[in-house]
């Protein structure tokens, strides 16, 4: 059996490498491909055709794949009859279009091959489990990449995936505090604001600062930071503020802590909108023109790393201390857990990831304005955490995708007056979407009190254990 695995693993890797090489070469030589299509270079005589072709090459150069494909389709559709589109050329065209998908399948096969080899080499259960999880994660990312290629990076589905991923991180970081440590904080929007502003302020290119800080003569900050550094700085600044506010506030009991953190978020918003700080925060005006991402992979990978870190924390000895504090503070303290220190640690870590989430949200929105970070944004995230299940990371992740998809995409049709035949659907007019959305929230909370996942985690061994769990009563 071992030999079979060896050969299987190596074979997969070879195929993967082949796929990768072929797809990369197919994608690189677009100009050559277009020349071969137009053998008699009819293009020189026909200016309109030349303009369309140049548009294709130009968007290919600033590697905006979405626009390149769109321009290519237009070019072929308009001038198809003048080009040689049969035989090998048709094949090359499909290779160009499906390039990224082929290369992602290659990556997947590579991962499976490596996993197979790893299990053969060490054979330990832990390694087999780790390999399984690794392949699962690679599969997830490949799926996201393929979906993005097919649906196009600016389609509704991909947009919802991007925002859903970012809200997943925000929900998990809030769950770390409310769900795992039992600290009831409503300050999430404030720390997201700090993260978003810190990121935006430091990544605006110097040449466009004059335009962005139009009332403040280009603003004080006159340098630009690399993206990753700025995101981490966003988290650190949010964590620093969290430490400061944590000192007086963390001693308070649950509801008082909630209102104190809510108050703090409102104070932050007022400070960031204050005109006096204009040269730094641009006062009430928008921050824009900072570096953003366009592929959905960026937020997914960033959020993936953060959530992995949070899961590692929750299952570490410190995570167990947080859960002890949630269950019974007095007993936790009696077992030697220093409450102020651990509470502050949980609060600072949660706000660090809220800051990082805020930075990612800024990149998703391409503009940042303090007035959007209201208490209602914190309630939204709290809603996601409770709907997903307090104390369940996978619950928060699933719930955030469902929440964003429902509120910003699926229910949009309720706003538009639609006429079926001559019958005008009565209730549908602008504003009805939010009414239906609130009713759905109420129904879910009333009938699924423990949230979708309760406090269970979605994991591979959950399916194995399900049989046993049935015997033990569903929610003990």
């Amino acid at each position: 059996m071992k030999a079979l695995k060896w050969t299987g693993g190596i074979l997969l890797i070879i195929i993967a490498v082949a796929l990768l090489v072929s797809s990369i070469s197919a994608q690189s030589d677009l100009e050559g491909l277009l020349k071969r299509l137009d053998a008699q270079n009819v293009v020189d005589l026909n200016p309109k055709m030349l303009a369309d072709r140049d548009r294709v090459l130009e968007s290919h150069l600033d590697n905006d794949r979405d626009r390149t494909l769109r321009n290519l389709d237009r070019y072929l559709e308009r001038h198809g009859d003048l080009l040689l589109l049969e035989g090998t050329h048709a094949l090359e065209l499909t290779a160009f279009r499906s390039g990224p998908i082929v290369s992602s399948v290659g990556v997947l096969l590579m991962a499976i091959g490596a996993a197979l080899l790893a299990t053969v080499i060490s054979g330990k259960a832990a390694v087999r489990k780790a390999a399984l999880y690794a392949v699962g994660i690679v599969l997830l990312y490949v799926c996201v990449y393929v979906v993005e290629q097919i649906a196009g990076t600016s389609s509704m589905l991909v947009t919802v995936l991007k925002k859903g991923a970012i809200y997943a991180l925000l929900a998990v970081s809030m769950n770390l505090l409310n769900g795992f440590t039992g600290l009831f904080s409503l300050g999430q929007a404030g720390f997201m604001l700090i993260g978003a502003y810190t990121y935006a302020m430091f990544t605006i290119p110097v040449e466009s600062r004059g335009q962005v800080y139009q009332y403040y003569a280009g603003g004080l900050i006159q340098f630009q930071m690399p993206v990753i550094l700025a995101i981490i700085l966003a988290g650190l600044v949010a964590a620093f503020f969290a430490y400061l506010i944590g000192l007086p506030v963390l001693r308070l009991k649950s509801d008082y802590l909630a209102i104190a953190t809510l108050g703090f978020a409102e104070i932050i918003r007022a400070v960031f909108q204050y005109d006096g700080l204009g040269p730094i925060t641009n006062g009430s005006n928008l921050l824009r023109r900072f570096t953003t991402f366009n592929s959905a992979l960026f937020p997914f990978i960033a959020v993936g790393i953060c959530i992995l870190l949070i899961i590692l924390l929750i299952n570490s000895t410190y995570g167990r201390a947080f859960k002890a504090i949630r269950d019974d503070e007095v007993a936790a303290e009696a077992m030697g857990i220093n409450l102020p220190q651990h509470k502050s640690m949980a609060f600072v870590i949660s706000c660090f990831f809220a800051g990082v989430g805020g930075a990612l949200l800024a990149m998703y929105q391409t503009t940042v304005q303090a007035s959007a970070f209201k208490a209602s944004m914190t309630y939204e995230i709290l809603l996601i955490v409770v709907l997903g299940g307090m104390g369940s990371v996978s619950g928060s992740v699933i719930a955030s995708f469902l929440f964003i998809a429902a509120s910003e995409w699926w229910l949009r049709f309720l706003d538009a007056e639609t006429v079926i035949g001559t019958f005008e659907v009565p209730l549908l007019r602008s504003g009805f979407r939010m009414v239906v959305f609130s009713v759905i929230v109420m129904l879910v909370v009333l009938f699924y009190q423990k949230g979708i996942m309760g406090d269970r985690e979605l994991s591979l061994d959950m399916f194995k254990r399900n049989g046993k769990e049935k015997r033990g009563g569903r929610n003990a």
Partner: protein, 295 residues
């Protein structure tokens, strides 16, 4: 000195009047929290709905009919919100009840948006309250005077009810210990409904006073006063009615002093900062009794 008074009298009057209105809302928050340990997020929106009821009812009925009818409708709304959104979650985790409250608040706000189209509606002038009078040198509305007096009278009545009636005693019992009260045969649901009825009625009266002073009614008009009233309730020690009233007046007046001094950009931020400072020194608010864990 005389010039100082004329300049600052309007601020003080404004502070007292808005303080009174916050008090009427804050009492609702404190009572519901005292009984159910629930932050009733929907309370601020019930306050706004009362405003819209009055606008729509007064368009077709005389004030003498529309005023009491608004109070009745608001009581019915408060009662049904409790029965629909909170009763099924009687023994659910605290966080779910909180989300249900946020859900109701969302629902009420979005329903108001949907029904009224969102444009600010002009609150009808209530004959005696909205007529303007001049005190010393500052002209203002009758409501600025009526509010503090009416608030104190209503709160005094409420304190009497709490301390000297059967239902009042039941409320105090339930707020002290939910389970034991239930064991002692107190009909919990009736007590809770009574709390919501009183809370909503006071919020209804508060909204009549508030909107006759600030006459533009929009779906989110009640959000900020609701939040301020809750801050006042926590500031005064959540669960204690006198605390809520005093907290409300302090916040109302200090807010206006801040505006007079000219730091208005931070007037809301200041209210929260004041709350955080108080909570640091008195973790359960000015009059809240310190609840320590029984080990």
């Amino acid at each position: 000195m005389q010039e100082f008074i004329t300049a600052n009298l309007p601020y003080l009057l404004g502070g007292i009047s808005v303080g009174g209105q916050y008090a009427l809302i804050a009492v609702g928050y404190t009572m519901v929290y005292g009984i159910l340990r629930l932050i009733n997020f929907a309370h601020g929106d019930i306050f706004t709905v009362a405003g819209f009821f009055m606008v729509y009812l007064n368009a077709t009925m005389p004030v003498a009919v529309s005023l009491p009818l608004t109070i009745l409708l608001i009581i019915a709304l408060g009662f049904s919100v409790e029965r629909v959104a909170y009763k099924p979650l009687r023994n659910a985790p605290r966080m779910s009840v909180m989300i249900s409250a946020i859900g109701v608040s969302y629902l009420l706000q979005n329903l108001m948006w949907y029904v009224t189209g969102g444009l600010a509606k002009q609150y009808p002038t209530i004959p005696w309250i909205s007529s303007s009078i001049t005190i010393y040198t500052a002209t203002t509305k009758m409501v600025t005077l009526v509010t503090p007096i009416l608030t104190i009278v209503l709160v005094a009545l409420l304190v009497q009810l709490i301390n000297h009636t059967k239902i009042g005693m039941a409320m105090r019992a339930v707020s002290k210990d939910f389970e034991t009260a239930r064991l002692m045969g107190i009909k919990i649901d009736r007590v809770i409904s009574a709390t919501f009825i009183i809370g909503s009625a006071l919020a209804g009266i508060g909204s009549i006073l508030y909107f006759s002073n600030y006459t533009a009614v929009t779906p989110t008009a009640g959000a900020m006063p609701g939040l301020k009233a809750f801050v006042a309730a926590v500031f005064g020690g959540i669960g204690s009615i006198p605390g809520a009233v005093i907290g409300a007046f302090i916040i109302g007046i200090s807010e206006n002093i801040i505006k007079a001094v000219g730091l208005t950009t931070f007037s809301d931020a200041f209210t929260f900062a004041l709350l955080i400072v108080v909570l640091i020194f008195k973790p359960t608010g000015l009059f809240g009794e310190a609840v320590n864990e029984k080990v």
